[in-house]
Symmetry: C2
Subunit: 321 residues, 2 copies
């Protein structure tokens, strides 16, 4: 995986430059609000997946598809801006959220502007028109699914009986489909065959789900100094994550942790979940998803880019923040 | 104009059937919220413009483009759902607004779902892929402009010095560009030449702006029994409409009407604005826009559809509700 970090860094710089050019260097208050979160950094993982998928299908093709890579980051950012309004979160990527820095109406509109721009940028790609139409359709379906996933996620807040099937469906929609679209759009625009497009779509879907499961593990296991987020906030809020669901299946009662938790309390919870085998089981589910995604990738010819995609999957479930 | 009414009725029925098929007959709470306002009726004017523009360019072509006509209505509805949240309006088309019947997060997501579906439906059209890509780009740009227009409109609420230029720019973006996109998309998808597409785009833009100006006149002049809306609400709220701007230019002080107004008070206001020539001036601006839009249409070959488009322009500025 030693080549993954420099690749991701370089891809992120490319996208950052495009963000500056198309979004940051604009006048008007609404444009500033739209650019705010986009310019606040981020790993630019979805654009990297677009580019790698394209190059895995046709070496060197990603140079023509940077507008689509940008479109995926823009789409992701629009969903974050709207999610922050719904969840009334005040901080994201170390900066105030858009509706906090401006106001709720401006937050809705800033997200809506990015939503439009994403489709505009997909159409700016240098690719066959048929491929562009398919890419637009894939992006549109992903967006509708993401809304559905966010709606499911919010509905889970009022429940304590969410099962694994429902959880996986929610995560598939909320996180999986955008990685799936990223890989699928890269493949389609690079002129990939139906088999290649499907393989990359499935790769993205599986790794995207694994990414979210790992996020839940990080919430519990990684101290705030390292993750930059409150440790064990899911536990404190009684959130229906795969960890909580698996614990419930084993008869563990985690409701006792729905309160302010000291570092020692968190250690007790981790110990309880570890001894019951919950953490290993959840890790295994994430690992199995990455193994499945690699199987999809094996339908492609071996290449440096295919290996980097496999590395991304591995990175998704081994990262600790 | 005797042929316009039956045409619009028939076009609306076609779109209503598609709405039933693609939106109403779906399960799930978020789908129901997305379909709520779409199914609450409406004149379906933008879809009619898509169809007429297409047939004016290539007779009979609209049959293949109904998905694009639907997409324009879906886009319009998504903007209404989000606007209602921003303005916190509770009623629309005689039914509770989405965020009132459900909640604010569901309102945001219901709008976002329709946003995605609009692009999906544009791609479902039976047309050349190049035309579809251009149509997607036109729709995306219109959506970004609409956001900008809504943002301007909201910013006007805190001002009393908006000038005619700013007002026209706001209305162009908030209302004009979607009619422009409707006509332009119909023309592009029907295989129109650059001249035809531009002419129809400009037709839509001018009539769309005229439509909004007429809306402001209706607010003042049409009794609630007829319009279904509070009469003179703009006057009561001190809204920066073209009427108010023109009145200010003439040195009239309308701030005295920023209070509860009886029917007699409204009559006094109408008399004052009429005698100062404000109402005639505003009517002339709307009429000139329609005349300009007809000039654009004269670049097309004469046809029944071209005449119906001219009739729509005429209808926009003569309707009294």
């Amino acid at each position: 995986m030693s080549e993954l970090s420099p690749y991701l860094e370089s891809a992120a710089k490319t996208i950052d430059r495009m963000i500056d050019r198309y979004f940051v260097d604009k006048t008007g208050e609404l444009n500033k609000a739209s650019a705010h979160l986009l310019a606040a950094g981020g790993k630019r993982l979805r654009p990297a997946v677009v580019m790698l998928a394209a190059d895995a299908v046709k070496p060197g093709s990603s140079d023509d598809l940077l507008q689509a890579a940008l479109a995926l980051e823009v789409t992701h950012t629009f969903t974050l801006i709207h999610d922050d309004i719904m969840d009334d979160d005040s901080l994201r990527r170390g900066v105030p959220t858009v509706h906090t820095k401006w106001d709720m109406p401006t937050g809705i509109l800033a997200g809506d502007v990015l939503y439009a721009r994403a489709f505009e940028h997909i159409c700016m790609v240098n690719a066959a028109n048929e491929a562009k139409v398919r890419a637009v359709t894939m992006l549109a379906r992903a967006c509708a699914d993401i809304c559905e996933g966010q709606h499911m996620d919010m509905s889970f807040e009022h429940r304590s009986d969410v099962d694994q099937h429902e959880y996986m469906e929610m995560v598939r929609k909320k996180t999986g489909v955008l990685y799936a679209a990223a890989a699928g759009i890269g493949a389609v625009l690079a002129g990939g065959t139906a088999v290649q497009v499907k393989a990359l779509y499935q790769f993205g879907l599986n790794t995207g789900i694994a990414f979210q499961i790992q996020d839940d593990l990080i919430d519990l296991l990684t101290p705030a100094e390292k993750s930059g987020k409150d440790q064990a906030s899911d536990l404190r809020e009684g959130k229906q994550t795969l960890l909580m669901i698996k614990a419930r299946e084993k008869g563990l009662d985690l409701s006792k942790y729905r309160r302010d938790l000291s570092p020692a309390d968190i250690d007790v919870a981790i110990k309880e979940l570890t001894e019951a085998g919950v953490i290993d089981e959840v890790k295994k589910i994430a690992g199995d998803l990455v193994a499945a995604s690699n199987k999809h990738l094996s339908l492609l010819a071996p290449s440096k880019e295919r290996q980097l995609l496999m590395d991304i999957g591995e990175y998704f479930v081994t990262r600790s923040y």
